[in-house]
Every structure is written in C-alpha cells, then in structure tokens.
C-alpha cells in the first residue's frame, strides 16, 4: 500500500467519523469541533485531488470563518448542554429515518460502483491533466472570464445575506420579550 492510499483511508475515515460524531453530539460546542475535524480531513481529500487552492480556502473560510460564526452564536446564546437537546435516545422512534438515510447512501454507492467511469472518455480534453490544475491562477482565470456572471451573482447573494442577517438579528427599540398578548397570529 502506498502513501497516497494510506492518507486517503485515514482522512476518509476521519471525515466520516467527525461528521457522525457531529450529528450525535449533545453538546453544540463539541459538535462544532467534530465538524471542524471532519472539514480538515475533507481539505486533505481536496488536496489529494489536486484542488490545492480550494483545500486552503476550505480551511480558511469554512473552518476559520463559518464555524467560528457557529461557535460565536453558541457562546452568544449561552447555551448550556441540556438533556433535551441532541438526538433523542430512542432508536426505535427514528428507525425509519436511519433506514432512509442508509438507503440513500447505499443507493449512491451502488450507482457509483456500477457506472464508474465510462463518462471519462467523453470529451476530447479528458485524458491529459492540464498544466497548473487547481492552482490559484487556473481557478482565477476561469472565475474572471467564463464564470464572471455567477461570480457577480455571489456578491449579490452575500449582500442580501448581510442585509437579512442584520434585519433578523437586530434588536428593535421598545421591543422586549414577547408577552402573552403579543403572541397573536400576525
């Protein structure tokens, strides 16, 4: 077994384990940390797939910014680990859901196993890996030429997300906790 395979197996296992630990945690802080471990393993997979730039971006943006935002909110709300949070202990109640997810995974695995990878001979450019695959230059060139329009669209998306987040999270003046008479349907 060569080094590539070892790295793949280790990071795949870590990614899957981290993700599963995340969904079964009761403590939200622990869940965020598990997700972060899973993300780091995913970044290793990205780099193995020659996506050097995106591997770095995944760590910087996702683990560095988005998950910190999650942590920040958890701290802000001062969440204690209560018993009522986390998945309910009764396996029986969720048996159908577990089964559904298992079925989904099995279906994907079956499809991937059965039809990999006839599509590879599809277009002429297939077989050669282009020079500088996955570097900042190659991604940026495409991003600012062919994908200029989607790129500008993301700027609008982020603008609207900022506006939405401010609207939702801002505390309006003269409004405090809802009392009974404020509970009326709008």
């Amino acid at each position: 077994m060569n080094l590539d395979a070892v790295i793949f197996i280790i990071s795949a296992i870590v990614a899957v384990l981290g993700a599963s630990m995340m969904i079964f945690q009761r403590n939200p802080v622990m869940a965020v940390l598990s997700f972060m471990v899973s993300l780091l393993a995913q970044a290793v997979l990205y780099i193995q797939l020659d996506a050097l730039f995106l591997g770095a971006v995944l760590i910087i943006v996702y683990a560095g910014a988005v998950l910190v935002l999650f942590l920040f909110v958890i701290m802000l709300l001062n969440l204690r680990t209560t018993k009522e949070l986390g998945p309910s202990s009764s396996l029986m109640r969720h048996l159908g859901k577990y089964f559904l997810s298992f079925l989904l995974i099995m279906e994907f695995v079956f499809i991937i196993k059965s039809s990999f990878f006839k599509g590879a001979s599809l277009v002429g450019v297939m077989n050669m890996k282009p020079e500088g695959f996955g570097t900042v230059t190659s991604v940026a060139t495409l991003l600012f030429t062919k994908y200029l329009y989607p790129f500008e669209l993301t700027s609008i998306l982020i603008l609207v997300a900022i506006v939405g987040a401010v609207v939702m999270a801002r505390k309006d003046k003269n409004i405090d906790r809802p009392t009974e008479n404020k509970l009326g349907k709008n």
Partner: protein, 100 residues
C-alpha cells in the same frame, strides 16, 4: 493511486450523514451544521469529478458554493438568534405552534 470513485463514495456517505442529521437532530444549530455538511459533500463530489474529467470548472463551482454556504449560515444563525430571544430554546420539537 486511489480510484476517483472512492472519493465520490466518501462524498455520498457524508451526504447521507448530513441527511440523517437533518432528520434526527433536535438541536437547531446541529441541524444547520448538517445542512452545511450536505453542501460540503456535494462540493467534494464536484471536486472529485473535476479531477477525473480534468476540467477545472468544478473548482469554480465549489468556490461559488462556499459563498452560498456562508450566506446561508449567516442568515440561518441570525434567525436562530431571533427565535431564541422569543422562545428561549433551540429544541426543534418545541417549534410546534403549527403542526409541522
């Protein structure tokens, strides 16, 4: 060299775990992270396909998806804050004013 299909299978498993997380988790923050995980799984699949096809377009998609995920997280967490101010709980089972 590991075959690309193994990477896609990892992505599929992550997607399934994310789906399970959305279905079973009762803490809304963990639920949001499961949603993010599903987007991540799709990104991983795109990266793997991109490597197999040797077309770099997939990397651009993942870059855009990262922006989408960040935007969703920001809005979702802001909504959680509002809801928490009103209800003082993050348990999804308590959001039952209307039958789900």
């Amino acid at each position: 060299m590991i075959s690309i299909s193994s990477y896609v299978i990892v992505a599929a498993v992550l997607f399934g775990i994310g789906t399970l997380g959305v279905l079973i988790s009762r803490n809304i923050i963990i639920l949001f992270m499961s949603l993010e995980l599903m987007l991540n799984a799709a990104s991983l699949a795109i990266i793997a396909f991109s490597r197999e096809l040797n077309v770099i377009d997939g990397h651009v998609f993942v870059f855009l998806i990262l922006a989408v995920a960040a935007a969703e997280a920001a809005v979702g967490l802001a909504m959680v804050i509002t809801l928490f101010r009103n209800k003082e709980t993050l348990n999804i089972d308590r959001f039952n004013l209307m039958k789900w």
